[in-house]
Amino acid sequence: MTLKELVKIERLKKYFPVQSGVLSRVTNHVKAVDGVDMTISEGETVGLVGESGCGKTTLGKTIIKLLEPTEGSIYFRSDDITGLSPSRMRPYREKMQIVFQDPYGSLNPRMKVESIVSEGLAIHNISTPGERKGIVRELLRTVGLREDALPRYPHEFSGGQRQRIAIARALALNPEFIVCDEPISALDVSVQAQIINLFMELQEKFRLTYLFISHDLRVVRHISDRVAVMYLGKVVELAPSGELYKNPLHPYTRVLISSVPVADPDRQKKMTVLKGDVPSPIDPPAGCSFHPRCPIAVEKCSSVEPELRDAGGGHLVSCHLA
């Protein structure tokens, strides 16, 4: 592939301290993101799937520096943005945006739609306050909302409409890269499809690059060019999406795919049920972190940690047996 790299992360780690005792001493760490390498090219959508607690949201927030990484580096267009101070980070904030999961929690209830959408413009001093109204109007039209939304408050809108407002806010600064953190999981099925379509239209129109985080494999399959599967803070498989769903190499990916209910009553029912629970990210198992639940684990898996390696054609997998 000759695509230009937009975002690159190297050995990225994000640990959260666990405090205990009267003196709030740090006794342990939740290893939410535990050494992730990834390259996202201009104009592509990388899907990020995994179950709750696997660290996918933390990874998304760390990439755009809403969280400070514990270790590793983040590059945006080959600039290292890892250690930048808030003021030196500001020009990059224009280029990297985020759309959140909960359309009820992601809009300030005390602000009118107009000020919500134009806030980025105000922060970066783009255009005069008078011109901003016109820009906001145009943005609302782009995301499929009527102009009369301007003077209204978020609570007057449905979930899908709120998500459109949040998307307009993210678009206001003309970003190149948007982290979409479960942006449709809280919406009704019929509205989910509208928002997925909107994301795809906007990508084409503005040449956007997405990191699309979701627990829903169907949605990720639909919207992504490449898909990364996360388990316990690590990427265990990363492949072009057609390839990943046709030919999953990691046993965890296989279980995930087979667990997705399919709206086809004629399909052979072959759900694989995993044994046990997801282990604690405070103290992940030694070796391959999936081995205690893996249906095909061998002795080596419990001692040697597999590396993420190329199994051919850009299909990366970290499994000894793949």
Binding site: E51, S52, S158, G159, G160, Q161, D188, V189, S190, V191, Q192, A193, Q194, I196, N197, M200, H215, L217, R218, V219, R221, H222, I223, S224, D225, S241, Y245, V255, L256, I257, S258, S259, V260, P261, V262, A263, D264, P265, D266, R267, K269, M271, T272, V273, L274, G276, D277, V278
Partner: protein, 327 residues
């Protein structure tokens, strides 16, 4: 086929700020003995209110059951006394709620909570209770039940809590189980296990299940028959395979086309336009007309009857015979 539970013409309203709003309008459905019947619909369609009506758990006021019958074991639940209802609830009819974590009481152990309905409904000794609780936890697939029953809810994962909820619902071997979005709060791998468990228990205990969900995929996996609800009404009903292969209502088609396919390509989805209407703001005529690609003038003025368009396949649409999967 004999019905384990039958709802006839149920109408439920809620009032807020002096305005009365119909949330469920003239709903009829039946759950045949030993089958899983699915109810699909989006937020505000009345599916949860229907479930709560069967349990007689609608808060009154603001809620009010305006009319209809719910027949269980030959008698109308809506007319039985509160005392009779308490004897039924959790004993012969049980319910699983969506949020497993908030549905468990944090101050009691798992064993206490599973044992509670046993103590309430059956006359058994402490030792028998303990044995039954262990057997139930084992049945729902909780490893090491003897030690787990001493745990408090916060010590359990989401999947485990949902299994405990199911164990509680099953404690008295109910004849009817109502599962309201039982897996929505859970991860897919755990969801698969829970669905398999519900189906397995149906076979082993001969339960009848009313499964409420927004996910057509789940319906396709486990349900025998489906009711599709929209804006407080049932708009389509058929056995599962018929409904998926030959839908007769544009809303069902819209829902089916809204779900991205695992085999699908990166292309535009056929989304249903507009927003899900909230109770009190339903349009006149057919309640789906303002979002329907097939709507004609008749749809805007007259409400379509819920009628049979093929054997056992009902739909409330003026143009049902023209509906195909590719609209």
């Amino acid at each position: 086929m004999e019905s384990a539970l039958e709802i006839k013409d149920l109408t439920v309203s809620f009032s807020s700020e002096g305005r009365k709003v119909e949330v469920v309008s003239g709903l009829s459905l039946s759950v045949p003995r030993g089958k899983i019947v699915g109810v699909v619909g989006e937020s505000g369609c009345g599916k949860t209110v229907t479930a709560l009506s069967v349990m007689r758990l609608i808060p009154e006021p603001p809620g009010r059951i305006e009319g209809g019958e719910i027949i269980f074991d030959g008698a109308d639940i809506l007319r039985s006394s509160d005392r009779d209802m308490r004897a039924l609830r959790g004993n012969r009819i049980s319910m699983i709620f969506q949020e497993p974590i908030s549905s468990l009481n944090p101050v009691f152990t798992v064993g206490d909570q599973v044992g509670e309905s046993l103590r309430t409904h059956l006359n058994i000794t402490k030792k028998e209770e303990k044995e039954r609780v262990i057997a139930l936890l084992k049945l729902v697939g909780i490893p090491a039940p003897e030690s787990r029953m001493k745990n408090y809810p916060h010590e359990l994962s989401g999947g485990m809590s949902q299994r405990v909820m199911i164990a509680m619902a099953l404690a008295c071997s109910p004849e009817v189980l109502i599962a309201d979005e039982p897996t929505t709060a859970l991860d897919v791998t755990i969801q698969a296990g829970i669905l398999e468990l519900i189906d397995d228990l149906r076979v082993r205990l001969g339960m009848s299940v009313l499964l409420i969900t927004h996910d057509l995929g789940i319906i396709a996996e486990v349900a025998d028959a489906v009711y599709v609800m929209y804006a407080g009404k049932v708009v389509e009903h058929a056995v599962t395979r018929d409904l998926f292969k030959n839908p007769k209502h544009p809303y069902t088609v819209g829902l089916l086309n809204s779900i991205p396919d695992l085999r699908g390509l990166k292309e535009k989805l056929d989304a249903i336009p507009g927003v899900v209407p909230s109770p009190g703001s339903f349009p006149p005529g057919c309640r789906f007309q303002d979002r329907c690609p097939l709507a004609i003038d008749k749809c805007r003025n007259e409400e379509p009857p819920f009628s049979e368009h093929a054997a056992g396949h009902y739909s409330a649409c003026w143009r049902a015979d023209e509906v195909t999967l590719q609209v």
